[in-house]
Amino acid sequence: MTALLTIDGLTKAYPGVVANDDVSFEIQPGEVHALLGENGAGKSTLVKMIYGLVKPDSGRMTFKGAAYTPPEPRAARAAGVAMVFQHFSLFEALSVAENVALGMEDPPKPRDLAARIREVSETYGLPLDPDRLVGDLSAGERQRVEIIRCLLQDPKLLIMDEPTSVLTPQEVEILFHTLRKLSEEGTAILYISHKLEEIRALCDEATILRLGKVVATCTPREVTAAHMAELMVGKSLAAPARDEAEPGEILLKVAGLSLEPATPFGTPLRHIGFEVRAGEVLGIGGVAGNGQDELLAALSGEALTAHGAIQFKGEPIGDVPPNARRVLGILCAPEERLGHAAAPDMSLTENAVLTARLRRGLDRSGFLDWSGAKSYAETVIERFDVRTPGPDVAARALSGGNLQKYVIGREILQDPDVLVVNQPTWGVDASAAAAIRQAILDLAQGGAAVVCISQDLDELLEVSDRFCALNEGRLSAPRPARGLSMEEIGLMLGGAHDMHEADMEAAHDPA
């Protein structure tokens, strides 16, 4: 059997970094091939080359036996390569059908297209209404739009970039069912992920990338997840450690918190309630777009709520603005590092002033103490092992992992009583992620209450004492994290959105 896609010695360098270094592998027709690697290992660059978004510096590709050098995505699509992006390439203000049409070379008339969308989405168990605005869809539904956009073009190779990061466990099952069906029909799938168990469940072959190079290939079903992890990271990482301790007094209490969204496609919060005690980590899971940003804004004070909806040590603070909350000891680290937690073009020293001014006394009656700010920035850099030439460097010059360590460190070193973090390790390499999780646990150990909002369920199970799920702006009742199964968590997360019973059953059938 000849390979569908052969990649031979692909190399792509950016200034200061070789994203792909002599990468070679093959994909057979109908094969589900995993591309495994950490953040920054070069997976995205590689698939962008296959999809024609980036041109390789050197190396060759062969597709269906012919030389393959797509100058642009259009050519890749015409050749039979389709791609589902990690950060969706969707347009919120346009309808599902319009979004699908934009991804096709030669879309049929709108009415025919709508019918085709309905037909294909039913066939593959991914129901969709072509007339709805994409902005109103959940993350899982948005992914369906992307997948259907690809399927309508009858691809020979489907590239999926981290598809499950926005799905509930049940939705993952359904997706896998769809992918297996496609694979049986002869469509090859290039599946990019860093989630090992998923790869073991789905993929026939795996190519493992580290720092731009192929370090190993394996058959995932025949090796352990731990083995693959070691190949991927290059060393074995210790799981974060913590001692058992009795939680103390209630530091943060939220009751009946409701909030209208600030943006047209935002999620309203509905009657949210929880408590966090000193020494405790409360994990809040949920698929992106279910109110995480809004919840963080309400807790940080960026969005003000009813007076009594949030209480700190029994004091109502729902309508207290951000800086007054910082004075009390409630600190936050938002998800978006560049532009929210930190100003991209400002130096690390200037970014230290952003949140640490009041608690670290970085101003005197309005006049800023720059040397104090600089020394605080240096402390954060040193204590949290932030790799940077110094505190005068602009925030945007740091890698994701280093900037995240800086942001988290900036808050933790202010000795908060309550720390709220949203997606603390999103897009961060494994060793930085481990360090951040350890720091969160150490903070709780020291007597702080921590709220950790995350989409990464493995992360939440690792750090949380109690777990609750955010779904369409509502929060489930917290449950002890220890002993929760993925199935139970999935149901807490709202199961599969808008799925028919039949599809659920189909999803559970062995493929």
């Binding site: 041109k55 951000p322 532009g339 929210h340 100003a343 073009d345 602009a394």
Partner: protein, 362 residues
């Protein structure tokens, strides 16, 4: 093909170098423009940039004019730069300048013919308040109704011009002026005049105010929390909210300060160099100040230098008109060109140019 590549950290060299290179390129392009108009390009550039300062025939008159013209430009531009840094676009300074002048002049004329020493300070305050109030219209509409401040502040310039026409021909008209439009002459009446502080230097109270504004803005932006918040709001609005910056307060503050400074500039002008409220006493300083603010990189010291340079082009332009017959509007086009070159070169402080290497895949 040239490709742009984002720099990890903005280049300090280019932040300073770009305006200088822009001035040089504008001289070249401007020379070309003058050549098309049938002038000797080298001669025209010399008349505009060098003769006002160094030619013995003109320098005695021109040098003081430099401060007279740079004063209002700098004063207005300093105010605008605070807002521009915060992403608040007050482009109606011309209107605030006019209203400030009318209010200040109205205050002074209300006490005519008194020569009380408190009248002039009162006029300054009235001028600042007038400009402030005029700028509060877009500020309040933006904070209350999210109305675009660019359009409102600009449209209000036309409203202010209509009021100015009414003031000059109606409620502020000189009762002893034989029916001609225009107010009493403020500059020739002790008590309402804005005199030169040092005779023959061009340095009137407005120029002094401009220098004070430069220093205050420098301290504000580099040392004070408020300046930090202004920069933060402009660079990363979401981070600013997170840092506890109240956007409403910032909008009111930035528009208010720029309006007050523009209003003050208007009063200094009408009580000094212009002398009276007339239909066209305003000479577009409010718009030119936008160029000054950008050319000075929204930085106080840069604005000081840019204000002097633009003042020079005004004086040199008049001289070129007189000596060479270069049409008056040429200088406005010239100033616009300067801004274009600056904006074009701006890219170099945040991006590096790379010659695109031959693509492997074609």
């Amino acid at each position: 093909m040239i490709r742009l590549e984002k720099r990890p950290t903005p280049s300090r060299a280019w932040i300073i170098g770009a305006p200088i290179l822009a001035v040089i390129l504008t001289m070249i392009a401007g020379g070309l423009m003058f050549a098309i108009l049938g002038q000797d390009p080298v001669e025209s550039i010399r008349v505009i940039f060098l003769d006002p300062l160094f030619d013995e025939r003109f320098a005695a008159f021109s040098r003081p004019q430099l401060l007279v013209k740079a004063g209002p430009l700098i004063l207005i531009a300093i105010g605008l730069s605070l807002g521009f840094r915060a992403g608040i676009w007050n482009i109606g300074a011309e209107g605030q300048y006019i209203i400030g002048a009318i209010c200040g002049a109205g205050f002074g004329l209300a006490f005519y013919p008194s020569e009380n020493l408190l009248i002039f300070p009162g006029m300054i305050i009235a001028g600042a308040l007038g400009g402030w109030a005029w700028a509060m219209i877009p500020a309040i509409l933006k904070t209350r109704f999210r109305t675009n401040e660019i359009l409102v502040s600009l449209l209000l310039v036309y409203v202010a011009e209509a009021i100015l026409a009414q003031a000059a021909t109606g409620f502020l008209r000189n009762p002893e002026g034989a029916g001609f439009p225009g107010s009493r002459n403020l500059a020739r009446h002790p008590g309402t005049d804005n005199p030169e502080i040092i005779a023959g230097s061009g340095m009137h109270w407005g120029v002094l105010a401009a220098f004070i504004a430069v220093i205050a803005a420098y301290v504000l932006l580099n040392r004070h929390l408020l300046g930090y918040q202004i920069k933060l709001a402009g660079e990363a609005p979401r981070a600013a909210r997170f840092a506890g910056v109240n956007p409403t307060r910032l909008i009111i503050l930035c528009l208010g300060v720029s309006g007050a400074l523009a209003g003050m500039a208007g009063l200094f002008e009408v009580a000094g160099p212009a002398g009276q409220i007339s239909i066209d006493f305003n000479s577009g300083y409010g718009f030119t100040a936008i160029i000054v603010a950008f050319l000075g990189r929204l930085h106080p010291v840069g604005i000081l230098l840019a204000g002097l340079l633009l003042a020079l082009t005004f004086i040199g332009g008049e001289l070129a008109q007189l000596m060479l017959g270069v049409p008056a509007p040429a200088i406005q086009a010239f100033q616009g060109m300067l801004l274009f070159f600056l904006l074009a070169l701006d890219v170099l402080s945040n991006y590096r140019l790379r010659w695109k290497t031959a693509e492997v895949a074609s």
